[in-house]
């Protein structure tokens, strides 16, 4: 083979090599730029969404604000859960569709009450009796799970979202009628609280979504989540407005979105634990309403998804639910993934 033939042969070989390498690079580039979609067809992978609704920056929480850390995961697969309550004996109770399930502090089921229909909310009194809120009425069960009473329904517009019990008083948050109904333990309606009343300087409730929580605080006042106004309001049992706190902001010290806090509860020392939907956050506020710190932020709930648990797309705006045990630990239920976690204070 002459030199010229050899050169020509090498050139051809090089050409083929270069072509193959270039083709491979082009192929890899094409793979990166396209995406297989339904029916095996390809579409451009448009990572840059010019219309993206981006909450990434807002979801970041300064680590210095974290006051709690995850201690353990108590239960999973609680996707039907809609309410969570802790009792003084260390147990906690969940409304899951048409059942009240009681767990010990290790997450073992110790009791179940079967209900006649899916319920929305739950409260327990000091005797262990359970008050269960359905769409338009309340049923009462004794500590052994036997039904003792079914109170009169409150009409087509009623939509009960939360219950609170204190001694002889039962308070029902009726989101459909935007009012807190005040009952005695015998099931007699004795008052209506938080309705608009300019003479008593009460603005009235703004409840854009079916999240409307009530609880009786350590000071003996009835606290009401006026979610559309992004604040908590305290009333006497006679319906006088005592004080309010809270404001709307995406910043960490306030309540975000259209209607928050979606749930709240109290720590044994009187501080508030608040839950927000949308940008899922669980935070602690001091008894005077000033911001204290964060229990769980969006990253904690993203972890649920990272573990392979999907969020129900048909249930937008689902928010976490919190309860506090006697030791000051906070139980947080994410209904979207069905995970119940316990958070403990950072020493």
């Amino acid at each position: 083979m002459s030199d010229s033939e050899q050169q020509r042969d090498l050139s051809r070989r090089n050409f083929i090599r270069i072509g193959a390498a270039g083709g491979a690079i082009a192929g890899l580039g094409a793979l990166a730029a396209v995406k297989i979609t339904r029916d095996g067809k390809q579409t451009s992978d448009d990572a840059e969404n010019p219309f993206e609704y981006d909450l990434t920056e807002l979801a970041h929480i300064d680590p210095a604000l974290m006051r709690y850390r995850p201690a353990d995961t108590i239960a999973r697969n609680l996707k039907d859960a809609v309410d969570l309550q802790a009792s003084a004996d260390g147990r906690f109770h969940i409304i899951s569709a048409d059942r009240v399930i009681t767990y010990d502090e290790n997450g073992a089921v110790v009791a179940t009450i079967n209900l006649s229909a899916p319920a929305h909310c739950l409260a327990l009194d000091d005797s262990g009796a359970a008050y269960v809120g359905f769409t338009d009425h309340v049923e009462v069960f004794d500590a052994k799970g036997a039904r003792r009473a079914a109170w009169a329904p409150q009409g087509d517009r009623a939509y009960f979202t939360s219950l609170a019990v204190s001694a002889d008083h039962v308070f029902i948050a009726d989101g459909g009628n935007r009012v807190v109904l005040h009952y005695n333990v015998a099931g007699e309606l004795i008052g209506r609280i938080a309705e608009k009343d300019p003479q008593r300087h009460i603005d009235g409730l703004l409840i854009p979504s079916p999240y409307f929580d009530v609880a009786v605080g350590p000071s003996g006042h009835l606290w009401v989540a006026n979610t559309g106004r992004h604040r908590l309001e305290a009333f006497t049992f006679d319906g006088d407005l005592v004080r309010t706190w809270g404001h709307a902001t995406m910043a960490i010290e306030g309540f975000c979105g259209c209607c928050n806090p979606c749930h709240f509860t109290f720590l044994p020392d009187g501080r508030f634990v608040t839950c927000e939907k949308g940008l899922m956050r669980v935070k602690v506020y001091r008894a005077d309403g000033t911001f204290d710190g964060v229990v769980a932020g969006p990253a904690d709930f993203d972890q649920d998804v990272a573990e392979g648990l999907s969020v129900t797309p048909a249930a937008p705006g689902v928010g976490p639910i919190a309860a506090a045990d006697a030791a000051g630990r906070i139980l947080v239920l994410n209904p979207a993934t069905g995970i119940l976690q316990r958070f403990e204070p950072i020493a």
């Binding site: 067809k41 451009s44 010019p50 219309f51 609704y53 979105g257 259209c258 209607c259 937008p316 705006g317």
Partner: protein, 188 residues
């Protein structure tokens, strides 16, 4: 010994082949016609529960202005002052200033009803189906804003280019007599 076995002659073979081909062709024609008939009885639509607000409805439609528009289920709306479908995540103020609006074309209109309620309506001519408002509403609110293929605009392509690009497979054919998948208030 005579051979009694019936023979298939070349003519028989060809005749049978031609008959078979004719039958096959008729069947194929019937299939095509049937397919066309079926195509006219179904239309494309978005399942709002599967939509992940990826924006492709705005960019993948064969029409210059997408056939996809936002629609509003008023019965589900909270009529909020701070509407997360209307306002940027961190608005300067809760007013109609363009800098506060989430919609890139100003298609979502805000009007005062009575204290403290506001109504939000969609200007179809401005809506490009980008789903930003849908994402904002779904993230914090009741999900009352959602996308639908508008059949006064859709040309009902055999292969919907948006459906092919849709990463959540939210678009499928539905019966033409029920062409929309609307959101409704949950009765329970």
């Amino acid at each position: 010994m005579p051979d009694d076995t019936p023979h298939s002659t070349r003519r028989d073979f060809l005749t049978g082949w031609v008959r078979g081909s004719a039958l096959l062709g008729t069947g194929a024609l019937a299939g095509v016609l049937s397919g066309r008939s079926q195509a006219t009885e179904t239309v494309w639509q978005i399942d709002p529960d599967k939509c992940i607000q990826c924006h492709r409805c705005a960019t993948e439609c064969v029409l210059t202005e997408s056939a996809v528009k936002c629609v509003h289920a008023f019965a589900m709306c909270g009529y909020c002052d701070l509407c997360t479908g209307y306002f940027e995540p961190r608005p300067n103020e809760l007013n109609t200033g363009a800098e506060n609006q989430l919609c890139p074309t100003g298609a979502l209109q805000r009007s005062f009803i009575e204290d403290p309620y506001y109504q939000y309506t969609i200007d179809d001519k401005k809506c490009i189906g980008c789903s930003r408002c849908v994402a904002g509403c779904a993230a914090f609110g009741n999900g009352s804003l959602f996308l639908q293929i508008r059949h006064d605009r859709c040309v009902n392509c055999n292969e919907c280019s948006i459906a092919m690009a849709c990463p959540s497979e939210a678009i499928s054919r539905v019966p033409a007599e029920t062409p929309y998948k609307l959101k409704r208030v949950n009765e329970t």
